[in-house]
């Protein structure tokens, strides 16, 4: 048995001010670390939740997003009759041929322009996205210039609130409803009647086709067959995969940014921890000598100081996580490079981020404490005792 943990803990407690200051330095770093992870997680969660694993998205070959894609009408009708498509309660296939375009809108705050996805839908579109629920108002009447706006769009963009009007394609479009799509990308979209939109935008082709699989395992076979059909120039993706791909570029950027920032910042915090632990060792030279004289081994001294540094790091980790947990209240909206459109998402904390942050803080403490702890364990007993 070695030196009790309470020794390390109480030493931190005794010099509370120093401990708190050092820990808050590390806490800030953990905060940055956790916040960037939370942002990436929030982005991916939003986009992944947007898709459903049973849904398949069909796009024109090598188009990266629905906005770039175009599916000709003849191909669409060929695809409509595939046997893998589930049949809805009304006896019609659960398949929607949609139009997806970007429109430039101005934000309510700051008047800055941003691209918003506008989706031309059919009645099947709603059945395919059970997450989407009308929160206010009513659905657009078919054949009319009416739209519904996602909650996040309705809140942030001019002309998208309930009862307001938008002007595009030489027509005025009235917002007759606001829908809630939870934490999905649909909250950042505007929906309206597809045929009206195709007319207004003078788009003779669909952007994408979405359908529900009758049997989820049939996907691979379907994909292989459709993609090798010489009459078709489409590519099939599970909806979940499609949205995951949409998040990739941005998530990668956030991840690299987070990594670089964390590495640079942790240098500062580790230096802080090193200084603190060196001072802790310097102030307790006699104590160390005494413990050694009593018969404690070098490794016991080493581990006592390492435990102290680890605890210090964990304090920082807890402080940082505590602060970062409040970031969950914040929603960020920015342009997603993959689709070129505005997307709103929140900082999201999960268990894995908590563990990573705590581990990271402990590692910072460890790195900061290792040199001082070695110094403590290498002190000569006689000299240490004389240092009073």
């Amino acid at each position: 048995m070695g030196i009790p943990y309470s020794y390390s803990f109480r030493n931190l407690w005794t010099r509370r001010l120093t401990t708190v200051l050092t820990a808050s330095g590390m806490g800030l770093v953990v905060f940055v670390f956790a916040a960037t992870l939370m942002l990436t997680e929030g982005l991916q969660k939003t986009l992944v939740q947007t898709g459903s694993p049973d849904n398949v998205v069909l796009l024109r070959k090598s188009a990266n997003s629905e906005v770039q894609s175009g599916v000709e009408r003849d191909q669409a009708s060929l695809l409509e009759s595939q046997p893998e498509i589930a049949i809805g309660p009304g006896g019609t296939p659960l398949l929607a041929k949609e139009l997806v375009v970007l429109i430039n809108l101005k934000k309510r705050v700051g008047d800055k322009p941003a691209n918003v996805i506008i989706r031309g839908i059919t009645p099947e579109s709603l059945e395919l996205r059970p997450a989407v629920r009308l929160k206010e108002g009513r659905m657009p009447r078919p054949g009319s210039a009416e739209v519904i706006a996602g909650e996040s769009v309705s809140r942030r963009f001019k002309g998208c609130g309930m009862g307001e009007t938008l002007r595009f394609g030489m027509r005025d479009w009235r917002v007759v409803g606001v829908f809630d799509a939870g934490a999905t990308g649909f909250s950042s979209e505007i929906w309206g009647d597809r045929d009206q939109m195709m007319q207004a935008f003078r788009r003779p082709v669909y952007s994408s086709i979405i359908f529900r699989l009758r049997d989820t395992t049939a996907f691979d076979a379907f994909k292989a067959r459709v993609e090798s059909d010489p009459r078709l120039t489409v590519e099939a993706k599970r909806e979940t995969q499609y949205y995951l791909d949409q998040s990739e570029a941005m998530a990668k950027f956030l991840r690299i940014l987070g990594l670089v920032l964390t590495v640079v910042f942790s240098i500062g915090a580790v230096i802080g921890a090193t200084i603190t632990m060196y001072a802790a060792v310097a102030n307790r030279v006699t104590e160390i000598g005494t413990l050694r004289a009593l018969g404690f081994q070098r490794k016991s001294i080493l581990s006592a100081f390492i435990v102290e540094a680890l605890l210090l790091g964990l304090c920082g980790g807890i402080l940082g996580l505590f602060a970062a947990s409040f970031m969950q209240l914040i929603t960020i909206s920015t342009m997603n490079w993959a689709s070129f459109s505005e997307l709103a998402f929140s900082f999201t904390l999960n268990v894995s981020i908590v563990w990573k942050s705590l581990l990271f803080s402990a590692v910072m403490g460890l790195v900061g404490g290792v040199l001082p702890a070695f110094r403590a364990s290498r002190l000569k007993i006689v000299e240490a005792l004389r240092a009073t």
């Binding site: 009593l294 007993i381 005792l385 009073t388």
Partner: protein, 229 residues
């Protein structure tokens, strides 16, 4: 009684020098010295005479250049770093001038420290600690932190810590050096009692003649050599 028993400490031809830069300063030169079991020995001498070095060597916290030190038949000069630490934990009790209690641990925990290096379980440790705190008369103060105790009380806690593992020898470096006369007297009486009633062997460095009087044998060190009084 001391004369006819086997010596517990046997020192032969012990030498030690310090280096300061290129200068070599001899501290001890060819010391031969025996201490019998149950003795109370005082080492005296002017500062720089090497008395503390001798004490440190016997206690196994400093290493000799030459010669042999046997404590209870263990040749400690041949022990390695960690064997020596293990040996100290079981065989030596330390009493320091400035008590050297750990400020963040209570009296009880300070006394318990050396027992953490043994195989005793929690209950046994508690029994041992309470017993020695009773011996030094501080059983009612065991939850106090060092800062809440007077100098004399702190030194008594330190003595309790020194004897809790029932070591072969107790080494004391100026144990009364930081105390007022009354407290010093208390401490000396306690040490005397440890020798008389519990048969402990005590080796004490001091330059307080009053303290030395309590000892059975006083050895003087001068320029690294021993002389008998």
């Amino acid at each position: 009684m001391a004369e006819n028993s086997e010596p517990i400490v046997r020192i032969r031809n012990l030498s030690k020098a310090y280096r300061r830069g290129t200068q070599v300063i001899p501290v001890l030169t060819g010391i031969n010295f025996d201490i019998a079991r149950g003795e109370f020995v005082a080492l005296m001498g002017p500062s720089g005479s090497g008395k503390s070095t001798l004490l440190n060597l016997i206690a196994g916290i400093d290493s000799a250049d030459q010669g042999s030190i046997q404590v209870a038949d263990v040749e400690i000069t041949s022990l390695g770093e960690s064997d020596l630490a293990r040996w100290r934990a079981g065989s030596v009790g330390f009493i320091f001038q400035f008590y050297n209690l750990i400020p963040v641990l209570t009296a009880f925990e300070n006394v318990e420290l050396p027992l953490l290096l043994t195989h005793l379980d929690r209950r046994e440790r508690r029994e041992h600690v309470e017993a020695v705190l009773n011996v030094v008369g501080l059983a009612d103060r065991m939850d106090h932190y060092p800062a809440q105790l007077s100098g004399g009380q702190q030194q008594r806690v330190a003595i309790a810590r020194a004897i809790v593992t029932d070591p072969e020898i107790l080494v004391a470096d100026e144990p009364t050096g930081d105390l007022d006369r009354a407290s010093a007297e208390e401490i000396l009486q306690l040490m005397d009692r440890l020798v008389q009633a519990f048969g402990k062997t005590v080796i004490m460095v001091t330059h307080d003649p009053r303290a030395a009087e309590k000892a059975h044998i006083i050895r003087h060190l001068e320029k690294g050599e021993l002389s008998v009084t």
